[in-house]
């Protein structure tokens, strides 16, 4: 069964159709990364899957259940979100922040139960933040903060996670660490991941499958190695790209064109 199933999904923001007619199936326990130039509709797409954007037409199903029929709490037990720019509330401890991930289980009228605290402790350990549990969230570095946000999403104990540019603002080592953590959850715990990434090399190395989105429509959908090598990819980015094999891993290298300067596309979602 598909963990995530999109059928002719269209999402309108204001007067603009940012996603239209997207059909996509993400099988359980796999990692699908959406790539594409700025303004392609990647963020809008994952936010729609997370239930944060009104659907203009089509349908989103999570584990066979239509998103429209799910209450907020039911939805939060199926899909967790790692936003691109998470709000980090000053004064809150790392433990309390991660414990927010259990809201869908104990509700807001009851205190977390022993089971909820057990999950939080376990997740803190998995992302190596146990020693930081009492720290104020604003005192964490970018890498620690991103692990904390991932920990909150893991504490939701969902089988689906959507991530919008989870490596934004991280240095190379922390980008790799973050994605390795996520890959481990996919391989060892059967997590289903739908992510957006700008870095084509990282996207190709960690995802099972890549979906190239442009102006709100799916252009390519296939195994990472195939999509990375497609001529269509370079065309959509409007530049020359080379794929090099480094120790068995694909590395995507943009080639500088010194003859002309192209104006960047202005739309950015």
């Amino acid at each position: 069964m598909s963990a995530i199933s999109l059928r002719e999904l269209s999402v309108r923001v204001g007067t603009r159709n940012l996603v239209h007619g997207v059909t996509l199936d993400v099988p359980e326990g796999t990692w699908c990364t959406v790539i594409g130039p700025n303004g392609a509709g990647k963020t809008t797409l994952v936010e729609a899957v997370a239930g944060l954007r009104a659907i203009a037409s089509g349908d989103v199903s999570l584990l066979g259940e239509s998103l429209a029929s799910l209450s907020e709490r039911s939805r939060a037990r199926r899909v967790a979100l790692v936003p691109q720019h998470p709000v980090v509330p000053a004064g809150m401890s790392v433990h309390d922040y991660v414990a927010l991930g259990r809201t869908a289980y104990h509700g807001v009228l009851r205190a977390p139960r022993a089971e909820d605290y057990h999950v939080v402790e376990s997740v803190l350990e998995r992302v190596d933040l146990t020693d930081f549990r009492e720290r104020d969230v604003v005192t964490l570095s970018g890498g620690e903060r991103q692990r904390m946000v991932l920990a909150r999403a893991l504490a939701q104990s969902t089988s689906i996670m959507v991530l919008d540019e989870p490596t934004t603002g991280l240095d190379l080592r922390h980008q790799m660490n973050m994605l390795e953590l996520l890959r481990r959850e996919v391989d060892e715990c059967g997590l289903t991941v739908l992510a957006t990434l700008h870095d084509l090399t990282l996207a190709g190395q960690f995802a099972d499958r890549l979906v190239l989105l442009d102006v709100g429509e799916v252009v390519l959908d296939g195994p990472a190695g195939e999509v990375i090598r497609s001529d269509e990819l370079a065309k959509r980015y409007d530049m020359e790209l080379r794929v090099m094999d480094v120790n068995g891993s694909d590395v995507v290298v943009p080639v500088r064109d010194t003859q002309r300067v192209r104006p960047a596309r202005s739309t950015d979602q």
Binding site: E47, A50, G51, L52, S71, E72, R73, R75, A76, R77, V79, A80, L81, P83, P86, V87, V88, P89, A90, G91, M92, D96, Y97, L100, G101, T103, A104, V108, L109, A111, R152, Q156
Partner: protein, 328 residues
């Protein structure tokens, strides 16, 4: 809690007519079957018909304003939010002005003032809601802007009526606008009590939801919180409770904004601690302020709003100077 007890006892003991501490406490204990009262009948009337309802109304008003302020700050994620954000003050002010200035005739009896103030406050919040509440499930900014617009409209109408009013009416309008517990009675306590209890309980129960909402609207929703419903409920409760209190005691500033901030500095940013402690701190603060208001220039009284502002403004400036430490 001890501060609250001292404030309450002080509210009964301190006043222009000196009645000894031990005699007041002895009288209080005699009501629960411990010992005998030594108060004269006149002193008993002063304590139980003048000071006690005033003290209890102060506790209720302080509680509601502080909790409503803290709740507004949480739900709007805005450190400058106070209970009057959505036009309650302007609406109540217009209602009270209509009554005191006797617009249309027949409204000059004292009972019309709280009634029209309450109605005005509810109308103002209702209009604000009608204009800005449509987008409330996704954003609060439209509601805040609608509150600003409605408050301006009601305030300008109020100013126009004040301009037309007699000098005597104008003086009474200003006294009302600055807030006072002087007209407190057991009947006003009875009227306000259910609103304060129910609305405070709703806000306290929502404290955990306010903590979740500290990560913003989208993330709260992704965590499973029905943000729109929670917002509607707590904004309605805080507004209704504030309207009830304002109709009884007039416009008392700074309690709703300063008390939650001081509490936040002391106990951290979790609304599960801020709101319950604001109940105690707000109640104690207002009773102490009222005790000061009615004693420092006895036998005349300072307007309560002047005292809360005199204390509240420096505290507020102090908090602003510590802006780096004030976190939401």
């Amino acid at each position: 809690m001890l501060v609250l007890v001292f404030a309450a006892v002080g509210g009964l003991v301190i006043g222009p007519t000196p009645i000894g501490f031990s005699r007041v406490v002895g009288d209080v204990l005699s009501h629960v079957g411990l010992g005998h009262s030594t108060l004269t009948p006149l002193q008993s009337v002063i304590v139980w018909q003048l000071r006690a309802p005033r003290m209890v109304l102060g506790l209720l008003a302080g509680t509601m304003l502080a909790v409503a302020g803290g709740t507004y700050q949480g739900v709007f994620r805005n450190p400058l939010a106070d209970p009057y954000l959505l036009g309650v003050a302007a609406g109540a002010g217009l209602g009270a002005t209509i009554a005191i200035a006797d617009v249309g005739g027949g409204l000059s009896t004292p009972s019309w003032t709280p009634l029209l103030a309450f109605a005005g406050a509810l109308v103002a919040v209702g209009v604000t809601w009608a204009i800005g509440g449509r987008g409330l499930r996704t954003s609060t900014s439209s509601l805040i802007l609608a509150g600003v617009a409605v408050a301006s409209l009601f305030t300008s109408a109020q100013t126009f009526l004040q301009q037309q009013a007699s000098v005597d009416s104008l003086a009474r309008v200003y006294i009302w606008l600055l807030g006072s517990l002087a007209s407190a009675s057991w009947s006003s306590v009875t009227l306000v009590l259910p609103y304060v209890v129910i609305c405070t309980v709703i806000c306290l129960v929502a404290a955990r939801a306010l903590d979740v909402m500290s990560v913003g609207e989208d993330e709260s929703r992704s965590l499973g919180l029905a943000v729109g419903k929670v917002r509607l409920l707590v904004v309605a409760a805080a507004s209704l409770g504030t309207a009830a209190v304002v109709s009884a005691v007039g416009l008392i500033g700074f309690v709703g904004i300063v008390v939650p901030h001081v509490v936040r500095l002391l106990v951290g940013t979790s609304y599960r601690r801020i709101l319950p402690i604001s109940v105690i701190a707000g109640a104690a603060f207002l009773v102490v302020a009222d005790t000061i208001a009615r004693t420092v220039m006895a036998p005349s009284e300072l307007p309560l709003g002047v005292v809360t502002a005199l204390v509240g403004a420096p505290v507020f400036v102090f908090i602003l100077s510590l802006r780096g430490r004030v976190t939401m």
